[in-house]
Amino acid sequence: MTPLHHSCETLYDLRQGQQVHIGDRPYIVKKRAQGGMGFILFLELDRANAPEKFSIHGLRVVLKSILPAALDDEAAALFRRELVVWSGLQCGNIVGLNEILDASRDGWVAAMDWYPGSLRDHISSSGRITLPDAIHIIHDVLNGLAYAYEKDRVIHLDLKPENILYDFYIDRVMRKEKVENPSDFDIDRMMQSVQGRIFMVADWGIASIKQPQLNAIAGMPPSHEACLKTFNNMGTIFYMAPERFVSGYRSTVASDTFSLGMIFLELVTGKLPFQKNCPPVETLLSLSYFPKAAALLKSVEVPASTCRLILSMIAPDPSERPTSYVDLQKSVISALKKTGGFLSRFF
């Protein structure tokens, strides 16, 4: 474990421009963000003073920890639980946990790479996305989810565009386009395109662990029952499956399928099936989102088979949704082949 050093009372007190050391590598705080329980520091390596040696921490690092006020309560236990899940996941489509740092006075501190942006940024800047591009994104996310489920029986439960980060992955395109000389390749164009990016799942903060052994290691926060309830209705409402608002319901893969379906819908239509004058929870619980989603899909040019796929993913009844990632992947591939998009060249 690499030690973390800084000159402030707590990590939380660090402000923009201040220095923090990960081992002997000096980093400058570039920006910070805060949530209800935790906070994030975005760091950039102070190259002029950095030693010239290999490190798993790159030029840009993100530190994630919990608020000092939350150190002793359930938030700490939840964060530890997140680290238990995250530490076992090593997959190209999951944001990697580089290291849990040795920062005794700051509690748990996780270090990960600082990626260029999230799917939310991409949607904000590009609006509606073409169907092949949307499928490319869904395919990447599915890969990450399938890996986590296959390996540790972990369900994410907080899928939303903010929790899907991307990195540039020009290599993949160059290989597939058989470009040998990089100067022949329009890298700027490719960096702006979806195909030049790899999408990764982040934030396993409220993930559900279905593997008993791992669940025992992860432990439960002090009030176990409260936590179960919390997990059920925690998350971002727009992407939460209706059954998760039902007390005592135990989430399954179908809950993640729903969230992914909502993201898929948003990508291809540019909209979500909610109205400003109606609270989203009500829309979800009354199931009125479903006809609205169907109408949204009708308004755009999407093949009928893809429409059916999206609607099956957001079906009100969890048993009607695809409950296996493998089946879902097959359906996505099938939809992809019909679009003739970039990834269809793989087949």
Partner: protein, 238 residues
């Protein structure tokens, strides 16, 4: 390749990383991957997933050892294995592997210079009689390429083994004298012991002399040059 193989998550990031890479680049990537594997194992230990931490280290070491199996004629691949094992605190596993390889060498036809040197490096970190470590370096200096050996040891690799043997002998000399003085041994007792160890001194000098002969381009009176030489004879270089 199956239709959906492309979609299957890559369970082994090492495979993804080293896929279609030239052998030298692959070795370097594998070596540097040890940092990542070490960090992941630390993460898993920190959160209580101890068994998995051991498992990923074992899987990684198996993967690195596979490189040697793929090209069993080049003992430098074993040096990578030794280095990453030491880095990941898996010296005991590396010891067993190298010892069994030495036993099987009548079938492998390896020049054991590098293998014994690596075994000495492993003994160095284990609670083993220092004489065993010295024995390894001396075996390395004495090793000869068997008939059928495709990659005989270079003069620099031999010199490195001599240098290790010299250093170990000197360290042992310092150690016995230090402990004798510490327990308050009389001057004549120390002088007698020194006489008994005269042969060790001679052995050390002989190793130093041999190293100088093998690599005359290094100034053996300049510690910085010696250090540079020792670092340059590694798993990637000569």
């Amino acid at each position: 390749m199956g239709l959906f193989d492309f979609l299957k998550p890559k369970k082994d990031p090492l495979d993804a990383l080293t896929e279609n890479k030239p052998p030298q680049q692959k070795k370097i990537l594998l070596y540097f991957m040890s940092e990542k594997v070490g960090a992941q194992a630390d993460n898993l230990r920190a959160v209580g997933r101890v068994d998995e931490a051991e498992q990923i280290i074992t899987e990684y070491l198996q993967r690195v050892f596979q490189e040697f199996k793929n090209a069993p004629l080049d003992p430098r691949n074993l040096s990578i294995f030794t280095s990453v094992s030491l880095k990941l605190d898996a010296a005991e596993a590396a010891k067993k592997t190298l010892e069994s390889l030495i036993e099987e060498n009548d079938r492998l036809f390896l020049d054991l210079t590098v293998v014994y040197t690596d075994l000495g490096r492993i003994y160095h970190v284990l609670p083993i009689d220092p004489m065993r470590e010295l024995w390894c370096y001396e075996m390395a200096t004495a090793a000869k390429a068997p008939q059928g050996c495709k990659v005989p040891a270079t003069r620099k690799q031999k010199a490195k083994a001599h240098c290790f043997a010299f250093t170990k002998l000197r360290a042992m000399e310092f150690t016995w004298e230090f402990y004798m003085k510490q327990r308050g041994a009389a001057a004549d007792e120390i002088a007698r012991a020194r006489e008994e160890h005269r042969t060790d001194e001679q052995r050390a000098d002989a190793h130093a002399k041999k190293a100088k002969e093998l690599v005359p381009e290094v100034d053996w009176d300049d510690q910085a040059q010696i250090n540079k030489f020792m670092q340059s004879v590694n798993e990637f270089g000569e």
